[in-house]
């Protein structure tokens, strides 16, 4: 099953992202949410989402750390990670590259952009899954 993980410590941001992506739910995509970095990491390991919208500024483990572990330490490089950063806050592009993130978006995010990205990645996922031989 195709899964998308939403990670943010602010409940209304999670809700808005879920709302943005709810059309995909009807198409059979499962939306998962996490409220902090640690929870996100365990969901990523267990549920293997194809796409993660990951807030940068979070207590305990921030988005950069989570991304770095996923991409560089446990080598789950095929998971597409979009870092979410607050507008006006200077995004450290160098750091974003270092931790292996695929993209970053600023909050308040553009819902159309988020949905388009999610569609692109889930379609790609579907495509590669079909191509992979069963045995």
């Amino acid at each position: 099953m195709t899964k998308i993980l939403i990670v943010d410590d602010e409940p209304f941001i999670r809700q808005l992202l879920e709302l943005t992506l709810e059309d995909l739910e009807d198409e059979g995509v499962e939306l998962l949410t996490a409220t902090n970095g640690e929870e996100a990491l365990s969901l990523i390991k267990n549920e293997r989402p194809c796409l993660v919208f990951l807030d940068v500024m979070m207590p305990k483990m921030n988005g950069f750390e989570v991304c770095n572990i996923v991409k560089n330490e446990i080598g789950m490089t095929d998971i597409y990670i979009v870092l979410l950063t607050a507008k006006g806050q200077e995004f450290d592009k160098e750091k974003g590259r270092e931790v292996g993130s695929d993209q970053y978006m600023t909050k308040p995010f553009n819902p159309d952009e988020v949905l388009a990205k999610a569609r692109e990645i889930t379609v790609r996922q579907l495509h590669t899954t079909c191509k992979t031989p069963i045995l």
Binding site: F12, Q15, L19, T20, P108, N110, P111, D112
Partner: protein, 458 residues
């Protein structure tokens, strides 16, 4: 989505616990089903106790049912309350997402039109954005002159913006907009007394003024063929967009004025030298025309043409620094006088160097008397070391000098002048430039006869 609300609610642990506790508190079993009758919660074998079925609704649609004994109403009421709250929360979320969309659009728009210096381009961008944000059949920008008369209508899809105005003839409504200078929604044009035009093409419209320093310079209009109820928030959005447009338009306007002033100043400078040496009557203009035709023949990039035009217009500006008795002398110059005369390209540089925007123009002015063989002045540069602008102007300038009357001789015929260019091609003149000048294409453009064309393979 609506159908799945109950299922989603029950998927939340805290909701499930609450429902479970309430159900335990009532005497008989309770079950909760979705609108298709699938049981989401409860005892599937409790049928015999179900004396009541209460539906859970959302906006007049049944989205599920609660079944149980008489006192299952408490479960139904609680669930209904949670469903309502969930819908309100979702509605608020959608509203917020809509705002997010607007914020993103405005941010992008600011970046896009902020760097735009062209009026039409600004309007194209803004109408394009309005198209994505609002429902409309036509989006047009009306620009007015100082007397509030409409001078220009630009619509987004290139369609006839006049249609909008025709629809409003005799335009009382539009005139009214211009007088009040306030944004307005007219959801029923046929019912509006100011709208006396025959027969109405548009049913509903919105207008927002474009104000530059308190003055209304135009309107952004949105029209719908079918009758619509544009809400106040649409007008608010339109007003925000028109305010941004006005700022960008003002900037474009100021930029264009600055540019106009600059070119007027260059023309003035060029004119001063023409007036000083009237014998050359219109020499400057012809050198500009010849130079541009040559550049076209050489297929030089478009962005280069302005630089060439300015340099050609100003090539002799340094002659302002040459004494009258030398500049206007009616006869051959002495050696000393010729030395004087040869300083004019350098004087040109000295005059123009104070204008930063003319920096690229200076080489064309300073070196237009250099020769490809290095025997020119002021520096004796050779071949490609001479700026291409100067090489072009050299040919244009010499050709015009040969073909016009001078104090000391009559004009040469075009044939003779062409042959002179060919003769000195590669020594005095750049051969590629001469070749371009003599090409059929350039000759045709300049309206010259085909003289000497058989000899153009110089």
């Amino acid at each position: 989505m609506a159908k799945a609300v109950i299922k989603k609610l029950l998927a939340k642990p805290e909701v499930l616990t609450l429902v479970r506790e309430i159900c335990q508190a009532v005497r008989l079993p309770v079950c909760i089903c979705d609108c298709e009758g699938t049981m989401l919660f409860g005892d599937p074998y409790g049928d015999q106790f179900f004396s009541r079925t209460i539906s859970i609704n959302s906006e007049d649609n049944v989205i599920g049912t609660v079944k149980g004994g008489e006192d299952c109403t408490i479960v139904a009421s609680t669930l209904q309350y949670m469903v309502n709250a969930e819908f309100e929360r979702t509605a608020l979320g959608r509203e917020t997402l809509e705002k997010y969309r607007e914020i993103s659009m405005l941010c992008d728009l600011g970046a896009k039109i902020g760097s735009c210096m062209d009026k039409k381009e600004v309007i194209k961008i803004i109408t394009g954005e309005i198209r994505t944000m609002l429902t409309a059949d036509i989006i047009a920008v009306l620009l007015c002159d100082d007397n509030d008369a409409i001078i220009e209508i630009i619509s987004d899809d290139g369609s006839d913006g006049d249609l909008l105005i025709t629809s409003l003839e005799p335009g009382e409504l539009v005139e009214n907009f211009l007088v009040t200078a306030a944004p307005e929604i007219v959801n029923d044009l046929t019912a509006d007394s100011r709208c006396t035009g025959s027969p109405q093409i548009f049913s509903s419209m919105m207008c927002a003024p474009l104000k530059i320093q308190e003055k209304t310079v135009g309107y952004v209009c949105v029209g719908s063929l079918d009758k619509r109820e544009y809400p106040a928030r649409d007008l608010k959005l339109l007003t925000t967009l028109s305010d941004q447009t006005a700022v960008a338009l003002e900037k474009a306007l100021l930029y264009n004025r600055l540019k106009e002033t600059f070119f007027a100043m260059v023309r003035t400078l060029a004119e001063t030298i023409e007036k000083r040496d009237p014998y050359t009557g219109n020499h400057t203009k012809r050198v500009v025309d010849y130079s541009l035709a040559i550049a076209e023949g050489l297929e030089l990039p478009e962005e280069y043409f302005l630089r060439l035009e300015l340099a050609a217009a100003l090539h002799d500006i340094g002659k302002l620094g040459v004494r009258d008795d030398v500049l206007l002398k009616n006869g051959p110059l002495t050696n000393e006088e010729f030395v004087q005369m040869k300083r004019h390209p350098t004087y040109g540089e000295e005059i123009l160097k104070h204008i930063k925007h003319l920096k690229d123009v200076i080489p064309g002015v300073k070196f237009h008397h250099e020769r490809c063989d290095g025997k020119g002045y002021p520096l004796g540069l050779k071949g490609d070391a001479i700026d291409i602008t100067a090489r072009i102007i050299a040919v244009a300038d010499s050709f015009d000098a040969m073909t016009t009357d001078r104090p000391y001789r009559k004009a040469l015929s075009l044939d003779v002048a062409f042959n002179e260019l060919i003769k000195f091609s590669g020594t005095q003149f750049d051969s590629a430039v001469v070749k371009a000048f003599l090409s059929a294409q350039v000759q045709e453009k300049l309206g010259m006869r085909a003289h000497g064309r058989s000899n153009t393979d110089a």
